[in-house]
């Protein structure tokens, strides 16, 4: 039996562990890079950007109620986004499971959920910093704002819809009237002809 150096297993272990470590760091780095490169689920959060910009503004100082309004707008957008995530989750999960939706979209969706969790926590923190306990009513208020804005959008269409229906009905009525007149005319002609033939017969 040849002499095996004591260093051989140690060298083996070192090699093994370092290659595993190398693989893991590269793998993780790639994963992070892939996540960073992912397109965000939602567009830019304008309401949040505006709130933070107003908060950072020092001269002229922004009135407190303007900051509150901006935070309410931010919470409203948060609610809208959370509602949209909740609405699409079941269908998207099903599609992903069946393979109709790729991993990338699913990862983006899960990332968006995490982002929104953090965003809501932060927004609640801001509300409580402005007024203790406001976070408890901020989101209910924001939810009503989402509903009310949907209602207003629908009601704003009413005059236009009425104009369209009015015109449609006018056209329909004219057509019916002209058709009736035609019918009357042709029946009048028919009447006249029968009278003529009657006269001839006489």
């Amino acid at each position: 039996m040849g002499k095996v150096s004591l260093y051989a297993p140690i060298a083996y272990l070192v090699l093994l562990i370092s290659s595993l470590a190398l693989f893991s760091t590269i793998y993780r780095r790639r994963k992070v890079r892939r996540l960073i490169g992912l397109k965000p689920w939602f567009e830019e959060h304008d309401a949040r950007d505006i709130y933070l910009s107003l908060k950072a503004q020092t001269s002229p100082k922004v009135p407190e109620k303007m900051l509150k309004a901006a935070l309410l707008r931010r919470a409203t957008e948060d609610v809208r986004r959370i509602m949209s995530l909740q609405e699409s989750k079941p269908a998207l999960a099903e599609l992903h499971q069946r393979g109709a939706v790729g991993d990338e979209i699913w990862t983006r969706f899960l990332a968006a959920e995490k982002v929104m969790d953090a965003e809501v926590m932060e927004c609640a923190g801001e509300a409580n910093a402005i007024k203790a306990g406001w976070a408890q009513t901020l989101f209910p208020s924001a939810a009503e704002m989402v509903h009310n804005s949907r209602i207003r959008d629908r009601l704003a269409q009413v005059p236009e819809l009425q104009k369209a229906e009015r015109e449609k009905w006018e056209k329909e009525r004219e057509m019916v009237v002209s058709e009736l007149e035609k019918e009357n005319d042709s029946s009048a002609i028919a009447d006249a002809e029968t009278k003529k033939t009657n006269k001839k017969k006489k």
Binding site: D46, R48, D49, K65, M66, A118, E122, N148
Partner: protein, 199 residues
């Protein structure tokens, strides 16, 4: 989180009491957001509290004003002054829409649905079937279990000769699950339409 990159050069104008953003930073979505923000700011300034109350707290003064306009509309309707009634109901709708946006949307729906349904009836009395149909349909959008609004929508459609749609409206009204005493009218109108359709 660090948002310093996202900060916008947004300015509060102390004269107009509005915030504004320079042209180069203005995207369409930001413009819309700023417009909404300025309008919400006005609502908050008009509010007699530092933050909006819980949604179920309803502005009582506005309630009274809406009710007065609605009563005026009803009075005009009873005197057969239908176009006056339409105008009063329209004013009541405008007034109801002045509610601050954080108030309970359920209440807003209820209040507005009655106004649209009444305006539909006033339009019907002047023979404006198209206008009336849209108003009745809007009342239904606001409150689905509203048999009277379904009935009015059906009547308008029937008058415009759209019998299949009228039939659907009456049937929906009977299925809507509401109870405002319109069931008998709905049933007889449905029978009428069925007869016209040779069903």
């Amino acid at each position: 989180m660090d948002y310093s990159e996202a900060l916008l050069p947004i300015i509060f104008n102390e004269v107009t009491k509005h915030v504004a953003l320079s042209e180069q930073d203005l995207t369409p979505s930001r413009a819309k957001e700023i417009h909404e923000l300025n309008s919400l700011y006005r609502d908050l300034v008009a509010l007699n509290a530092d933050v909006p109350p819980p949604p179920n707290q309803i502005n009582g003064r506005l309630n009274d004003q809406v009710r007065k306009l609605k009563d005026a509309g009803n009075a005009s309707y009873k005197k057969s002054q239908y176009s006056d009634a339409v105008r009063m109901y329209s004013l009541a709708i405008e007034m109801a829409l002045k509610r601050p946006p954080w108030e309970a949307s359920g209440f807003v729906r209820e209040e507005l649905s009655v106004l649209y349904s009444n305006r539909a009836q006033a339009h019907m009395s002047t023979g404006a079937w198209g206008d009336a149909m849209v108003d009745a349909d809007t009342a239904i959008y606001l409150k689905r279990n509203f048999p009277k609004a379904h009935y009015r929508k059906g009547k308008c459609l029937q008058h415009m000769g759209r019998l299949h749609e009228a039939k659907a409206a009456y049937e929906l009204g009977l299925e809507s699950g509401g109870a405002d005493g319109s069931d008998a009218e709905l049933k007889s109108s449905l029978a009428e339409v069925n007869e016209l359709l040779f069903l």
